[in-house]
């Protein structure tokens, strides 16, 4: 990374103001506001860097500026690179990258909505995170008090792209759906059964989570992080704790790292198995779902035995984990895994032997690798479409650097391959858990509590079962947070569904959607 940064400084001698390794492995490059886009473009095109996320911060009170952050990583380099660009409150605008790199489309618009910084030149600068009928407020600015009560909304509602032509019509679905799922609006334009295009509307469950973080003591913020997306409670919690630990320089004991690793993988297995069943259920193959539910139940029982919570809440803590395990609990892992492995093999056999299921999943909802990388798709959906990313391997954390595992990647990008990625990962995760249990070191399960110094920034990044989860924090006075940016994998992957459904028939949408299985809550925050 050092040589790369020197290279960058040589290439942009005027623009780069300072380079700082603020936390080991995390480099911040301070640039002048308008230059950030040029450098970002250079990194993306010349150095095959990947723009992980882009976010803003209100430092007007403290430093008189807004900051815009571009978070990058590079293939084969475990460090993170952050471009930090000040934006003056007098001219609250920044040049948009969305036209060239559609991956940042929604994220730039989020910044627009939440901070009132204009993404100049954005091809579609309409509201996204706050809906169209909201008044002109910018809730993530520091001068917007959390307890503000807004008057009833009277603004105009969102206008969808119209459709004209013989036999062409709209099917509006949601935001309230049948079944136990979260709210989101899907507006299909169809010609009979085939879908011409799909328009998405998210952020119905926007809870201003990032704002809530700024008012919580850090130890309580862990619980908030756990509830960002209920099915990824442990992953989100761990990502948040990692960010705080790195910012404060807290060394997590080796045993805690292994315990976290085991729990992260248990969360992955439980969710992947339930997804495998749910995908089958959406094509009417209910028996596979019944079995998947049964296997998942065994795993949730294990989770309860290990942490007291079926969905692994309340276990992760700053500096390690809240509870240590006794020998009997560690042995329960192995004995349960044996049952799960056998049952899962049966489940896979049921799925693979059903030709009618295979026929429904094959070549359905294809997301081409080229589109996937353009949209910055991550996680399971990305790996099924040739996007070879996995934070566990690329930016090793916790105990992953000591453990062998394989990252399955497919090119086909259809529903069936998204299912195959999950099936393969369950196998890998079981091996990971076995290896971690075998090597489980002794020692404390949590670092001793210490005050968190203010003004420190750091990234925590975890490969959740759905994809990469990134938390960025700036600590504040009195054990509180100044800012916490949360990046859930769903945010990048929703627009990919739009691509994947095109040309498919309406009746296949549910199974395509299920094969991505994105979090509404994580997207909306």
């Amino acid at each position: 990374m050092t040589s790369f940064l020197n290279n960058l400084r040589e290439h942009f001698p005027e623009q780069v103001r300072s380079v700082e390794e603020h936390v080991p492995g995390q480099f911040t490059v301070l640039v002048n506001g308008p230059d950030a886009t040029e450098i970002a473009r250079h990194l993306l095109t010349e150095h095959q860097a990947r723009l992980v996320t882009i976010f803003a911060e209100d430092r007007v009170k403290a430093e008189g500026v807004f900051y815009l952050y571009y978070l990058f990583d590079r293939l084969g380099d475990p460090s993170w690179l952050i471009l930090k660009a000040p934006i003056s409150p007098e001219n609250p605008s920044f040049p948009s990258l969305a036209a060239e790199f559609p991956a940042v489309n929604w994220q730039e618009r989020e910044i627009q909505d939440w901070f009132g910084l204009e993404a100049a030149g954005h091809p579609n600068p309409r509201r996204v995170a706050l809906h169209d009928n909201w008044p002109d407020v910018h809730p993530l600015r520091k001068d917007f008090p959390l307890d503000t009560v807004l008057p009833p909304f009277e603004g105009e509602r969102h206008i969808y792209r119209p459709a004209h032509g013989e036999g062409i019509f709209h099917i509006p679905v949601g935001p309230v759906h049948a079944g136990i799922i979260e709210p989101g609006h899907f507006n299909f334009t169809v010609a009979g059964e085939p879908i011409l295009y799909l328009q998405l509307r998210m952020f119905y469950t926007h809870k201003a989570t990032e704002k809530l973080f700024e008012n919580l003591p850090i130890h309580r913020a862990v619980f908030l992080a756990e509830s960002i997306s209920g099915d990824s409670a442990f992953s989100h919690g761990t990502a948040f704790c990692q960010a705080i630990e790195r910012a404060a320089g807290i060394e997590v004991p080796a045993r805690a790292q292994f315990l976290r690793t085991i729990l992260l993988e248990l969360e992955r297995i439980a969710n992947h198995i339930s997804d495998a069943g749910a995908i089958a259920n959406d094509v009417g193959f209910a028996i596979a779902n019944a079995h998947a539910g049964r296997v998942r139940e065994i795993l949730l029982g294990l989770c309860e035995c290990l942490t007291g919570s079926r969905v692994l809440r309340g276990m992760v803590a700053i500096g390690g984990v809240r509870r240590d395990w006794q020998q009997a609990q560690v042995e329960a892992i192995e004995s349960t895994l044996q049952i799960v492995q056998r049952e899962f093999r049966d489940l896979v056999a049921i799925l693979q032997s059903s030709n009618s299921t295979r026929e429904r999943l094959e070549r359905t909802g294809i997301l081409r690798p080229q589109k996937a990388s353009m949209l910055g798709v991550v996680g399971v959906a990305g790996r099924a479409s040739g996007v070879d990313l996995d934070l566990r391997r690329d930016h090793p954390y916790e105990a992953y650097r000591h453990l062998p595992f394989r990252v399955p990647v497919y090119q086909a990008g259809d529903v069936r391959h998204r299912l195959l990625v999950r099936i393969d990962e369950v196998g890998e995760s079981m091996q990971l858990i076995r290896a971690a249990t075998a090597q489980l070191p002794d020692g404390p399960h949590r670092a001793s509590a210490q005050p968190i110094p203010p003004g420190r920034c750091a990234i925590g990044a975890v490969e959740g079962w759905r994809g990469e989860i990134v938390h960025w924090v700036r600590t504040g006075e009195g054990n509180c947070l100044e800012r916490c940016k949360v990046k859930d994998p769903s945010l990048n992957n929703w627009p990919a569904i739009v691509e994947a459904v095109e040309g498919n028939i309406v009746a296949d949408f549910p199974v395509i959607n299920k094969s991505f299985n994105l979090s509404y809550s994580g997207t909306d925050r």
């Binding site: 019509f169 509006p172 009417g284 193959f285 209910a286 009618s356 429904r360 028939i505 309406v506 009746a507």
Partner: protein
């Protein structure tokens, strides 16, 4: 005359009472195969009672078609049910050419159902109607061909004559024409009753529904009528299939001790057929919508072969 009336009343009672039971048995068997406990067998009756007691929400956009449809569907289905031999070969009603009337009474119900799906202006209803019509346009000819095969054997399209002929002769089920016709009618049964692999009766996904999408706007007593009619239709089609092809235990008349025996046979045969349906639903996923016509094309081909074989063998 009184005898006719009693026959009609008895068969009417049997249709109304037995139909939810068949639905309940199928659901329970399915749940058991999925390692679930499932609802009680009598749950469909409780659902009907519950729905009849409830209030209704009628969309503002609905016309008289919306209100008429449940009645038309219910009565046309029951009327069709009175025209098929259930316990006795002698069907209580024999109007307008027997089996043809049965097919077109069911067709009338479907026509109104499709209209009501579009009547409210909801996009799901329209989607359901268009899918239902696509499927039935293919299912109907296949059904006709299969039925004609049987009718030619009996020399009449009257169901009483067909069933009577089936009882009188030795069992001819293994004749090629009968086999083909049976297979064709079985496929049509799956499609018409909205079962996997054609439609999924258990789904909550509006976008994949066919029959359920059309009745999505109904609630309360209207929904109860439609649900009841759907299970009666299922019973009618199942009875038609079993009594045309496996006429064992079919009594010459409704009267005497034979009726009890006839009902016993009917239940036993319905249970067997339900088991077969459940097994088929469990081991198969739902077909992709555009593959359903291929399935029905198979049914049509089988029906044609059946008809041709009648003249060959």
């Amino acid at each position: 005359m009184t005898e006719r009336l009693i026959e009609n009343a008895a068969q009417l009672f049997l249709l109304l009472a037995l139909a939810p039971l068949v639905t309940g048995v199928i659901r329970t068997l399915k749940a058991r195969l999925q390692t679930r406990r499932g609802p009680a067998i009598l749950q469909p009756y409780r659902d009907l009672v519950k729905l009849f007691r409830k209030g209704m929400v009628v969309p503002d956009t609905a016309s008289w078609i919306f209100a008429a449809t449940p009645w038309v569907v219910f009565f046309s289905t029951v009327l069709a049910g009175l025209m098929i031999p259930m316990v006795a070969a002698d069907a209580p009603l024999g109007l307008f050419g027997g089996v043809l009337a049965v097919i077109y009474l069911l067709g009338l119900g479907r026509f109104f159902l499709a209209l009501s799906g579009m009547d409210t202006g909801s996009s799901f209803g329209g989607l359901g109607s268009s899918r239902e019509m696509t499927i039935s346009a293919l299912a109907e000819p296949a059904m006709m061909l299969a039925i004609f095969t049987v009718a030619i054997g009996a020399g009449s399209t009257g169901l009483t004559e067909i069933a009577g002929a089936a009882i009188g002769q030795h069992w001819r089920f293994l004749a090629p024409a009968q086999m083909f016709a049976f297979a064709a009618l079985a496929l049509v049964l799956i499609a018409e009753t909205g079962r996997i692999p054609v439609d999924n009766p258990d789904t909550h996904l509006e976008l994949t529904m066919i029959h359920e999408a059309m009745i999505l706007e109904y609630s309360g007593p209207y929904l109860a009528l439609l649900e009841w009619a759907a299970s009666i239709k299922q019973l009618v089609l199942m009875t038609l299939l079993i009594n045309c092809f496996w006429p064992f235990g079919l009594q010459p008349t409704w009267f005497g001790f034979g009726a009890v025996e006839g009902i016993g046979w009917l239940m036993a045969k319905l249970f067997l057929l339900s088991c077969a349906i459940v097994l088929l639903e469990t081991v198969n996923a739902k077909m992709r919508l555009f593959r359903v016509p291929e399935l029905l094309a198979v049914a049509f081909t089988l029906g044609s072969l059946a008809l041709v074989s009648t003249f060959l063998f």
